[in-house]
């Protein structure tokens, strides 16, 4: 145990801290942030998603089979995982083998080999990947069998040729990490190639707008979506991505605006670079947002007709299965996919230490110094990253998520993961019971509905 010299005598550190009382209002992390702010005069910008604790899928449990429900035999009795997206209007809906997609992450935020790995991994696993705020790269298109092309407020790199060679189009209204916020890519990540794709000078901070330049609400978004459909001959599914905020109404308005698919991103969803205050204090968690979205779809008789993809804190097959049971058609992963590629690996502890961080804590993705070569535009760093190996790692992870999801579905007697239902779930906490509208375990009580 390290010792500290204090007033001339040795003090045992553990003994010292057992006597000292840390303020709940001003713990060391808050003191460090106040002093960082005082030193620099700049708010904290970082990547990753919300770090605060919120009610999550971990607060739900499956009931499993029992006297009244019989389970399916693992590995023998089929449990289907296929998903079709875009059945409402698109002439060419998307067929996924698994109910897990890879979320939009830009070339710019991520290196070209990392984007390639996402495409390779998703393709091996039979699912889609998504572009981001920086346009479509050849690496990404070439290695992604199913590629979703995002239409963002900045419109960096937006062009009709890429629209026509995309498999689906995602109109990004908001993002869970920052509903109402725009993008930011600091100058150190604006390499010549990134700059050229975005029609900006090299090395300047790139500020993406928070609102679209040519529509402002659901009425003109409807016209905008019709334009996209006209340009692409009504072939492509059109997604609308919303950050979890006023989710019930936002979902209803997305249906009105003509979405084939709604992508709902909860506050735990990741970001490449956003103000910490925005990440931690705006938007609602994935759990209640999902329930509100499903309710809106059901009331409009659009559940399963307009497909729902949920993201924001999906890590395990349990998260996937619970999201599907609550009514999602698929989930999407971003941060978890980066971690599967190697982000925050303990193998790189020394390098994280040199950046003033530690494996498990590293979130300065905006600075472009990522030792894994994932969130960087530095050629030396990104050159370390092997896109083939990364693709295999992501595919492995997606397979594990799928197997775990099937395990839970079979345990509840379901022959398709979409047959999971809220009745299979109970909540461990009153908060989760209220938000997910499933009963507290061992009771038939849902807060706000009937008496305990």
């Amino acid at each position: 145990m390290p010792t500290k010299r204090r007033k001339g005598k040795h003090v045992d550190s553990a003994e010292l801290h057992s006597r000292l009382r840390e303020s709940a209002t001003f713990p060391r992390s808050v003191i460090a942030e106040i002093q960082r702010a005082a030193r620099t005069g700049i708010y904290d910008i970082r990547g990753f998603g919300a770090k605060r604790s919120v009610p999550t899928f971990d607060d739900l449990l499956f009931l499993g089979a029992s006297m009244s429900r019989y389970p399916l035999e693992g590995y023998r009795e089929r449990c289907d995982t296929s998903v079709t997206l875009g059945t409402r209007y698109a002439k060419k809906p998307i067929e996924l083998k698994i109910p897990i997609t890879v979320a939009g992450m830009s070339f710019g935020a991520l290196s070209a080999p990392a984007k390639e790995a996402l495409g390779r991994g998703a393709t091996i696993a039979g699912t889609s990947t998504t572009t981001g705020d920086g346009g479509m790269t050849e690496e990404e298109r070439g290695h992604s069998k199913i590629l979703v092309y995002q239409l963002l407020p900045s419109r960096y790199g937006m062009n009709p040729d890429d629209l026509r060679r995309a498999d689906a189009i995602e109109v990004v209204v908001g993002q869970g990490a920052k509903p109402g916020g725009g993008g930011m890519l600091l100058g150190q990540k604006i390499s010549d190639r990134v700059a050229a794709m975005r029609d900006l000078p090299t090395g300047i901070d790139q500020r993406s707008a928070c609102r679209h330049p040519d529509w402002t609400g659901p009425d003109d978004l409807k016209i905008k979506i019709q334009e996209l459909r006209e340009i692409t001959e009504w072939e492509k599914p059109i997604y609308i991505k919303i950050g979890a905020a006023r989710t019930y109404y936002d979902t209803a308005l997305a249906v009105k605006a003509g979405a084939d698919v709604i992508v709902l991103d909860g506050m735990q969803g990741g970001t490449a670079a956003t103000q910490d205050v925005f990440i931690e204090h705006v938007g609602i968690p994935t759990l209640p947002a999902l329930r509100q979205a499903v309710e809106a779809l059901q009331e409009l008789d659009m559940h399963r007709k307009v497909q729902l993809i949920v993201s924001g804190g999906i890590r395990t097959g349990a998260d996937v299965a619970k999201a599907l049971a609550m009514g999602a058609d698929a989930v999407s992963i971003g941060v978890a996919a980066m971690i599967a590629l190697g982000d925050n690996s303990p193998d790189l502890e020394d390098e994280y230490n040199r950046l003033g961080s530690s494996a498990g804590y590293y979130d300065d993705w905006h600075e472009g110094r990522d030792p894994t070569g994932i969130s960087t535009q530095d050629d030396d760093l990104s050159g370390r990253f092997d896109p083939e190996l990364g693709g295999r790692r992501l595919a492995n992870y997606l397979r594990v998520l799928t197997l775990e999801t099937q395990t839970l579905a079979r345990a509840n007697g379901k022959s398709h993961v979409h047959n999971l239902e809220p009745e299979d779930l109970v909540a461990l906490t009153i908060e989760a019971a209220a938000m997910a509208k499933v009963p507290l375990a061992g009771t038939d009580w849902i807060p706000g509905h009937g008496k305990f």
Binding site: I42, D214, Q226
Partner: protein, 229 residues
């Protein structure tokens, strides 16, 4: 031969599909489209050097994402005319509503009347020539390309501007954050002369224009500029 299409007897979908049949071809086929009647999304996503004349006023996003075609609207245009245009020429003989030429990457947009607010928002290489005036927040976050306004400009011209060059002949109600007036050198006069000529503006002297551009003070974050962010 001029292809004829009457929107009183055919749909927007049928029209656009017919225009897309030429995608990738070099054929400069002529199209005359009647009875636009304010319909949205007319002649969007063309990918051929067609010559398209639209009779009547058009709604949202006319000629959106145009490539190579020369589209003329004989009337007024609704919001987002020629949005995200890549190349070609779009001409509006009347006035245009909000965000004309938004995010357009190339080509030439000519508005013979006035343009409303946010003309050239986030433009990425297009040239826009407005015979009349433009509304507030025009060229907001404009990245590259040139905006020439023969009349006046509204409030907050060129807010958060990047490298686009703005030329205004009349009054400017106000400049947005980081937009400043710059010296009009000979090369800029030649540039304006060329654009006026391409846009069919006559009787206007390039020497009467003032030039505006980015002060480039917001290019990298500096806490002393915090009130401008």
């Amino acid at each position: 031969m001029v292809h004829q299409f009457d929107l009183d007897h055919g749909t927007t979908r049928e029209l656009n599909h017919a225009l897309h049949e030429f995608s990738g071809s070099d054929e400069a086929a002529a199209w005359q489209i009647r009875n636009a009647n304010g319909l949205h999304n007319l002649a969007v996503g063309i990918d051929a050097p067609l010559v398209v004349d639209i009779e009547g006023h058009v709604g949202y996003y006319c000629a959106g994402m145009n490539k190579y075609a020369r589209v003329t609207v004989h009337g007024n245009a609704g919001p987002g005319v020629a949005e995200n245009m890549m190349s070609g020429i779009v001409r509006v003989t009347g006035s245009a509503s909000q965000y004309a030429g938004a995010t357009a990457h190339g080509g030439l947009l000519i508005i013979e009347g006035n343009a409303s607010s946010r003309c050239g928002i986030s433009m990425k290489g297009v040239d826009i020539v407005v015979h009349g005036s433009v509304g507030h927040m025009s060229a907001f976050m404009a990245q590259t390309g040139r905006l020439v306004v023969c009349g006046d400009a509204g409030d907050a011209l060129g807010d958060s501007l990047y490298e686009a060059r703005l030329y205004v002949r009349g009054n400017v109600a106000g400049l947005g954050a980081d937009c400043v007036e710059k010296v009009m050198k000979d090369k800029h006069k030649y540039e304006v002369e060329g654009l006026l000529r391409e846009a069919g503006v006559t009787g206007v002297d390039a020497a009467e224009f003032r030039r505006f551009g980015s002060a480039r003070k917001l290019y990298n974050f500096n806490v002393d500029n915090a009130d401008a962010y």
